[in-house]
């Protein structure tokens, strides 16, 4: 994966994984409070995005995530670092 991820595509992937409607996915959503995830759930979402976008996410960074915006920023940073 070398191209930057855009929000609409990312929102669709999040909708697939969470079972929510794409229109309900917002950047400021808190993964713990709004999506009801725990540490393991967040790690599992990270695995799914790793597979989907073929990008490596550092485990240490996953624990710092609080919002969906944090995730897309992290993915795009990883993409940028590997280009």
């Amino acid at each position: 994966m070398t191209e930057k991820i855009e929000w609409p595509d990312f929102a669709e992937k999040i909708a697939d994984y969470t079972g929510l409607e794409k229109g309900d996915i917002r950047p400021e959503m808190n993964v713990y409070y709004d999506l009801g995830m725990d540490s393991l759930g967040l790690f599992s979402l990270g695995m799914y995005l790793t597979k989907t976008y073929q990008v490596q996410l550092p485990l240490s960074a996953v624990a710092t995530i609080e919002t969906l915006e944090n995730i897309i920023v992290l993915i795009n940073q990883q993409i940028e670092a590997t280009v």
């Binding site: 697939d16 994984y17 009801g36 759930g41 695995m47 799914y48 710092t64």
Partner: protein
Amino acid sequence: MMVTPNLKTINELYDDFVQRTPPEKPVLGFQGHTITLGDLCARVDAFTIQMSQLDVRPGVAVGYTLPNCPEVIYLYFAISRLGGCALPLYPMIPDRGKVGLLQRADAQLVITTGRQYPTLKEASAQAGAEYQIVTVGAHPEGGTSLMAPPPADFDPGSVILKQTPPHLPLLLAASSGTTGIPKSVLMTQANLAAEVYAASELVTPFTDDCPPGYSTAMAFPLSTAGMIVVSGVMFSGLFMIFTADVSPVKFMELVTQWEADSISVPPAFCEAILSLPMLDSFDRSSIKRVMTGMDFLSPALVQRLKEKFPNLNRFANGYGLIETSDVIMVAKGTVPDDGIVPSTYKVTLVEGVGNQIEVRDEAGNSIPAGEEGILHVKGPNVLQGYLGNPEETQRSFVDGWFCTGDVVRNEDNGSVTLLGRQKYLIKRGGKSVSPVVVQNHLNKLAGVKDSAVVGVPHPLYGEMAWAFVVRQSEDAVQLKDVMKHCRAELANYMVPDQITFIPQIPKKPGVGKVDMDAMKAMALKELDSIAGAKND
């Protein structure tokens, strides 16, 4: 220990705590605010009055679904003082699931937040539920809110129970039991009072050699087990600090802000804290003790905690099940400078509570020290059985002895070494998940031909729930459909972490039993290819 095992109900323990504690003593810290005992009593009194006017009395079940907040604690004690029965519902259970549980419990009153109210009301109306729903904060439709001030001249003493029968039900909860199939259990005032003594063992001797104001930052949800343990910890005199949002970063901010003396967190949460890249930027010097529960605490984890929390000098881990009103045995000890502790799996029965343990073989015979068997428990912590499920009660509760289903080595003198859990359950982040329940739910989805769910060991977080799904055709059902179906009715911790679509469920030769090992191997291979690359 500041609580003595001669009080037989939660109400007696609450009154005793209030009498022996100065009103100005801080007891809770929430989102940066300090709540003194005086504040807590005032709120409990106000809730007691409000709920008596909503007709809460002995025999009335009160459901509540709230995020972590002090109101959960006030509600629990107010319900107890009125003789009602509390039904805590984890906020992340979907509304339809909550309504089913409330209807089965015949709840007459439900308490929630203004934010959750509209969807809960809608789901309740669809199911024809007849209970009243009130809120703790502002009511979105101008209905009853427990935050409204009670009448000034109303004396809570006129509505609380004069005498509390020890066998009065106080808490209704769900247990996954030994098979993982959810079952309802009822805990009495006496069960929960016994648990206060048992849970206080997690705290002692921490309080004996610490100055007043000793504090602990908690990352446990204030659901059933969390609330039960909180009573024991609070009545033991600890200042408890918690927050609504328990992300690892927020938690460390909380620890730093309050200069907490100890942390009370599940082992998986310790792992999440340790994986924070900015952990070194937090001041961790205040932490001297770690208290855990809900899962195994490994010696390796204690050692890694010691590396990051240099002043850590004690650990304690509680063992118990819902059927034993939570903690009955504790593993605890000191943490030396090198962080190497001899054992964290050897747990000892808390003395003075009146519980007994026995280790038995599969035929039910007691086995001697040094041998392995199944742990059985009897005593005031042990419940009477499962509600409306005589078959399972008969299987698991015999002559007052509860079969935990946990494999242990008998170490004699009230101690055992925990060796493993029941083979059917997935232990995910400290909670038990039944593969059978998840599979049955998956199989209900149109387009799903078959499914199997296995627990896949994760190096840090216990086990992941991994679902293998066989579709009727490739376009019959997609990931989103499966996840939407799961999130509609399953609690969030039961929703599979990963879904893999496969052409057929692998079976063993012979009678064709599902080959769990083959699926675990497939999952581990995928996990290695992804997670292995992610560990930096």
